[in-house]
């Protein structure tokens, strides 16, 4: 199985459009495909595919429950709590602010009096959608962080695990990962140990600036990258070319700017289904050559 992640840094460059169309194109080419939407703060791949999602499991992080009968107010747990979720006021017994707890479990390991029990907080959900378009089928796994939760990494990790499990179970040929915008830890968890990163950018200084961060991240993760210039023709590509040259990575596709992109996703019908020369055609060509990018 090959795992290909679609990322890019800046928001709105077309990560989801590329990920969804690539997944459908690979399915059209008779491959078994699992698409993982790891943009847990803004998961929209199901909208682009016109797919219904069914929640399969809650995403949980552990939280400590203090057994005040056993607690001796030693302060160890509050001391190791990095997020300030466990607080001990004036040397008293600690109390928890659940929202701040990241679920790192350091407090459990710090307590020498067996005074902390493990409970859970639900921070989001993993959903699965079976996508059937024309005569192609693929599986979508989508992670969603609840509004108000700020610990993104556990949600990305849980969704990726579920997608990986399903991909193995179905003997998938491809696991396609769609990531969030930015280049923070939520993106590193989506990009680590993949076979290829497709960095989608746009021909603007902003696109180039944020592409720089993703290419730096890819370099540090030791993962191969191909750059896709999306919305090609929107502006001069020099800014992007300068960054690409500096990292010595290949440009694997130039996808023309086109109004049909928005029309297609309002209808929930990926463009590769209609083929043609434009965006759909470019992405089918990319899908056909994807394995050669790894040689």
């Amino acid at each position: 199985m090959l795992t290909v992640a679609v990322s890019g840094g800046k928001g709105g460059t077309g990560k989801s459009t590329v990920a969804v169309n690539l997944a459908v194109a690979l399915a059209l080419l008779k491959h078994e495909v699992v698409l993982a939407d790891l943009d847990v703060e803004g998961c929209v791949d199901h909208l682009l595919l016109g797919a219904r999602l069914n929640v399969v499991k809650p995403i949980k992080v552990s939280i400590p429950f203090i057994n005040y009968g056993k607690c001796v107010a030693c302060g160890a747990c509050a001391n190791v709590c990095d997020t300030g979720a466990l607080i001990s006021v004036g040397g008293g017994k600690p109390f928890l602010i659940p929202r701040l707890c990241s679920g790192c479990e350091a407090c459990f390991h710090s307590c020498k009096f067996n005074a902390i029990r493990k409970g859970w907080r639900v921070i989001g959900e993993v959903s699965i959608g079976k996508v059937r378009l024309n005569n192609v089928a693929l599986t979508l796994v989508s992670g969603r962080l609840r509004e108000g939760e700020e610990h993104v990494a556990p949600a990305v990790i849980a969704t990726r695990e579920e997608a990986g499990r399903l991909a193995r179970e179905r003997k998938a040929d491809f696991l396609i990962i769609d990531t969030a915008a930015g280049a923070g830890v939520a993106v590193s968890h989506a990009l680590v140990n993949v076979d290829l990163i497709l960095a989608v950018t746009e021909p603007t200084p902003l696109g180039a600036h944020d592409l720089d961060s993703i290419l730096e991240l890819a370099r540090r993760l030791g993962v191969r990258v191909g750059v896709i210039i999306n919305k090609w023709g929107l502006g001069p590509e020099d800014f992007v070319l300068n960054v690409v040259r500096r990292y010595g990575v290949p440009i694997v596709a130039r996808v023309p700017y086109s109004d049909e992109v928005i029309e297609s996703y309002v209808r929930g019908r990926p463009l590769v289904l209609s083929g043609g020369d434009g965006v759909g055609g470019e992405l089918i060509t990319l899908a056909k050559s994807i394995t050669s990018l790894l040689r």
Binding site: G9, K10, G11, G12, T13, D39, E41, G42, V44, L47, V61, F65, V80, D82, R99, S102, C104, A106, H109, R117, K118, G119, R121, V122, R146, E147, G148, E149, E150, H151, V152, A153, P154, I157, A180, A181, G182, A183, G184, V185, A186, V187, S188, H189, P203, T204, P205, L206, H209, D210, S213, I214, L217, R220, L221, L234, G235, F239, I262, V266
Partner: protein
Amino acid sequence: MLEVVVASGKGGVGKTLISAELTLRLKELGVSVVGVDADADAPNLHLVLGGAEWVVKREYREGRVARVDALKCVRCGACIDACRYKAIFIDSATGEYRVNELLCEGCATCSLICPVGAIARVEALSGKVRAGVTRVGNVRIAGAKLVPGRPNSGKLVTEVKSLAKELWGSEAEVFVIDAAAGIGCQVIASLAGASAAILVAEPTPASFEDLVRVHRVVKHFGLPAALILNKSGVGGGLEDRIVKYAKKENIDFIGEIPYDDSVPKALARLTPVTKAYPDSAASVAIQRVTKLIIEKVIKNWSSWYSEHVPRRPEPYVPEIILPK
């Protein structure tokens, strides 16, 4: 002082454009304003304003990272099992246990569980915060830049807000805070302590979905909100539904900005679109909506606030599962 946060959920809908233009317009009107770039992963506000001279630069080193001492490590696997972030791996070449710094949150778990005391937490550079003035418009700006892949972007946002307050808080009248995409720690850190949210959407299903999600977070903080519809007419056809949502939610709908290629063209010249192509349809609309924000929201704060603040507080209540 007012802190207005420009947020959208979805990326690429025009947060930075609106933040830059609003900051410029306030400055032109003689209001003491600071632009705060609260997207530490992908900081772009200064670019839309022609770049910046950074006068103050500070490294942010509050972050930690675990380090395994290969001489003490007995390779028992306890740390690998305990790490919630899958940040510890076995080096395939040497068999040594190592920490992937791009995944490690710096919590104490592995160092506490290690039976031989082989893991220490060391200080790590998370990023930097910086402050200065923009080349176009000479506006004061503060921003943060995360080391790619590191956690702590939310803390960096809090840090850049503190830096702006330390430098200019005593006399600034308005902070325009350009939030990150999404609804996670950076957006929450941007909204904490803010006065109002200016939401930006484009008429597409993805943007609408994400607008509703970020607005839920805005309501958790009990903040009033205004809405700008960007790239209208681009083909999504959701304009009416988004405006209807705003009305139902008591979000003040300020106006629309039509899609227009003068925006990317101006960007390529690193010049705000209202300066590069002042007569373009987008520029005219941007002038109008930013002026409306200033007149309706900023200059008329107390009555606008009481009109648009959520009637009922809707604080976030986490779902807790008790220990068995």
